[in-house]
Symmetry: C2
């Protein structure tokens, strides 16, 4: 048992240094003056290499080995058993990758991100191409450190969605795509809804205050968090007692701050709801990107874009913005905020088209990793699929293949988790409705405590004790399944668009 305590103490040191880096990252994106960038980069680099060194040290490996027989006799779902299992897996993953590879990857992606930002601004794919080529090479090399594998994409996917296999994702998306395309075709055959009221000007402070009111009702704990502004909204945790969110105001898209606030609140409720007994351990984290996204998308979409939600909040919203909503009633408002329209930009996509943006990216990533697609042919492949899936073609690469930051940061394997999060959110939603039959009525009264209580119990408190697939199976009885999401889309949009 002494070994277990030693292991936890060492792991806590690393966790606290990681949290310190998170504080520096938060400051960088909220308040840091421009002159601080260079030193901040150096500070984060030192913290990063130090925690990497500490975690991959032979002493850490030995301690983990020493603890494995100790936890072997424990309940496999106990905190200690989960911790050692997770550390063992991560230690092996981290030590398989040579330090020189880690360093080169960091260096290449730093340069690539700067280049991408300029290339996107100039819509100049050729400028970004050599960096992306090198990144694809490095990612293929990274995968090779984990050979043998079923698929070259598996090791990448595992970094974001532990335990999930490429074949699983392909099967899920293969079943989903034709059904989702069919729904979109049904929608586009119908008359478009009116969202003119969203294109009026909503003063920032009013939006901020309304968003704060909403997430306070959701159960966001302001003693253990805060909201600030940043260029790109995000959630970050410095510990269970300090989970912060950010938002932004886009004058072109007046509702985006509110939905973004609800989205980040969903992430934050997850982190705030982790069992305090896990504090300081790597288990005090979300189970995976997809599970995290299931929480954010649930509060943003299943709650925040629902008719029960606006039954309660629309009168309050109208009271705050009477001029902007002159002549707009609840039904018009509800339809307007759920307007479906195939569009070029993923982060602006509606619920019905969003997953198609993801499937396109996943197919391209897999093809790049398999070697069946070359980087030079990527813009064409992108545009061809956009035409096929969404019926539109980007007029330039800045709103096409260059739109996302992920690839420039080497984050191949990340995209599918967004769509998986959507699917999981509705799988959970169906379970919640079974357990809380009057959930819609509660929401229509502005009550969210039963919902939050359910999520706390089934999802949040476990942190990352369980691999995401296992967690989904524990709660729903099945693996990740696209059918609940298809049912949800059909039901919602047949009501709104009348098909």
């Amino acid at each position: 048992m002494e070994k277990l305590d030693q292991l936890k103490e060492k792991v806590r040191e690393i966790t606290y240094l990681g949290r310190a880096a998170a504080v520096l990252g938060w400051d960088q994106q909220t308040y840091m003056p421009s002159g601080g960038a260079e030193d901040r980069g150096n500070q984060l680099a030192v913290l990063g290499s130090l925690t990497h060194r500490m975690f991959t040290s032979p002493e850490m490996g030995q301690l983990i080995e020493d603890c494995k027989p100790i936890v072997a006799s424990m309940d496999p779902d106990s905190d200690d058993a989960c911790l050692v299992r997770m550390l063992d897996k991560n230690y092996k993953k981290n030590t398989r990758v040579p330090t020189e590879h880690v360093a080169e990857f960091a260096q290449v992606t730093t340069l690539a991100q700067e280049t991408w930002a300029r290339a996107r601004a100039a819509s100049d794919f050729a400028a970004f191409r050599p960096y992306l080529e090198r990144i694809v090479e490095l990612r293929r090399q990274y995968a090779s450190f984990f050979a043998p594998y079923d698929h070259v994409y598996d090791p990448l996917l595992d970094d974001f969605e532990p335990g999930l296999k490429t074949g699983d994702v392909q099967a899920i998306f293969g079943a989903l795509r034709p059904q989702q395309v069919e729904i979109i075709q049904a929608i586009t055959a119908r008359p478009q809804v009116d969202d003119a009221f969203l294109h009026r000007t909503y003063p920032e402070q009013g939006q901020w205050d309304f968003g704060v009111d909403v997430i306070t009702r959701f159960g966001y704990d302001w003693n253990r968090g805060r909201q600030d502004k940043s260029a790109h909204p995000f959630t970050t945790s410095f510990g269970i007692g300090d989970v912060r969110i950010t938002t932004r105001f886009d004058p072109e898209r007046s509702a985006s701050a509110l939905f973004s606030t609800m989205h980040e609140c969903g992430h934050a409720l997850y982190e705030q709801g982790i069992d305090p007994i896990l504090a300081g351990l790597p288990l005090a984290d979300g189970a995976s990107m997809a599970i995290h996204e299931s929480q954010s998308r649930m509060w943003e979409n299943l709650v925040g874009r629902s008719l029960p939600f606006w039954t309660f909040f629309f009168p309050l919203f109208k009271e705050r913005f009477p001029a902007q909503l002159e002549g707009v009633d609840l039904q018009t408002f509800y339809r307007g905020i759920n307007k479906v329209e195939p569009s070029l930009i993923r982060v602006e996509a509606d619920e019905a088209t969003y997953n198609l943006h993801i499937m396109l990216r996943l197919e391209l990533e897999i093809a790049l990793m398999e070697g069946s697609l070359e980087v030079k042919d990527l813009p064409d492949a992108w545009n061809t699929r956009m035409k096929e899936y969404l019926g539109i073609v980007p007029p330039k690469d800045s709103v096409g293949v260059l739109q996302d930051v992920h690839w420039s940061g080497g984050m191949i394997g990340y995209f599918p988790t967004y769509a998986l999060g959507n699917l999981v959110s509705v799988q959970l939603w169906e379970c919640i409705h079974k357990d809380i039959p009057d959930l819609d009525e509660q929401i229509a009264r502005g009550e969210f405590s039963a919902l939050l209580g359910w999520l706390r119990d089934k999802v949040h408190r476990h942190g990352s004790k369980f691999e995401p697939q296992d967690l989904v199976r524990q709660i729903t009885g099945t693996g990740i399944d696209p059918n609940p999401y298809v049912r949800y889309l059909k039901s919602k949009y047949s009501y709104i668009y009348g098909f």
Copy 2:
């Protein structure tokens, strides 16, 4: 030379971790929600013990030893020679103190600070007494690690004011005290000035904006810093490119935010002015507490409470606060903000009485360390001296011996640097006036660039390359000297009070 590069690389790592800790500290005092306190303490503790371990490692000692012969042939004022000299001194200081002592000191002072806060609130010295007794014991023990010394207080003083000896401070203060007491007596014999206008309400935003205007003119670089609010104003540096200040608004003392902003700006101009070639090294820091304070007090008092300054700014101030300053003219305003009145609280003391608060503390600290005063007799000793130096006796210990946080944090040896900073500020001021004969006229036109340029060249750019006494001697030709300060007080207050 390779060894020197290795040494710098190792030292930079430690510096960046220290800067990371500074970011965490800044956040803790500005934006952190209450729930974040426990984790933040853990994060800072890990960073602290890690940097201590890194700096006191045998490898660090060996590298320093290896570099000493390399720099021996260099100009002793070169950056490299200064760096190795400073590291050698600090390494020896740090490694002389046993790790167990460091740990116990940290533990005792953490508890003592919590106890002190409660004791001050309840004005209950007896509750704090056992902690302070232990702290005095530990500080005496700390001093013993540096035996032999001229005076038991020397090793403590050296932590805040490198190279300065207790005997020097006693000689300086011994010469200063009777002259300063004489000035106060001359002032109190005269009719009091009117500062009623300071007791009106000045809206916070107007104060904030005016303060920002003033320090922008001083030359504070907003691309390399920012201002936020905190309970206690402070300046912190995360690198030469990110030097931040904070301020606070006290409804009872309406001018305090402005003077506090100028004070912190003085600290920040110092840190922003360090030569970028020193970036990432421990030389990119102020030379000492006293030199730092000389900068803050210069901008706050010698500039900010001067007639030339208000000749320019009073019309602007009056424009911003016309109702509050109804019927107040420049002379009345100038006299009002320079009102002298013996008072109980150090941080609220005026320029004429401030140093006496410090001398009192220094004498008590020395007596405690020598063993000629026991902690149990401290309140009486405090009150006796207050009566003798300032003619007033605290009605309770919360506004007497319990008012400052320093002793509860173990910071014995810190106080004298405040008064020394005042003295140095005027020594520099006399030199500046020789080099810039029309300085007053420039200030009266709102021009500060020549002043800042002088400070940059003589003080700021050197960072902590030189020990403070050497720096003062380089610039002024003498050591720390109380006579310029006495001349300044006499001239200023004979004008204001007419003696």
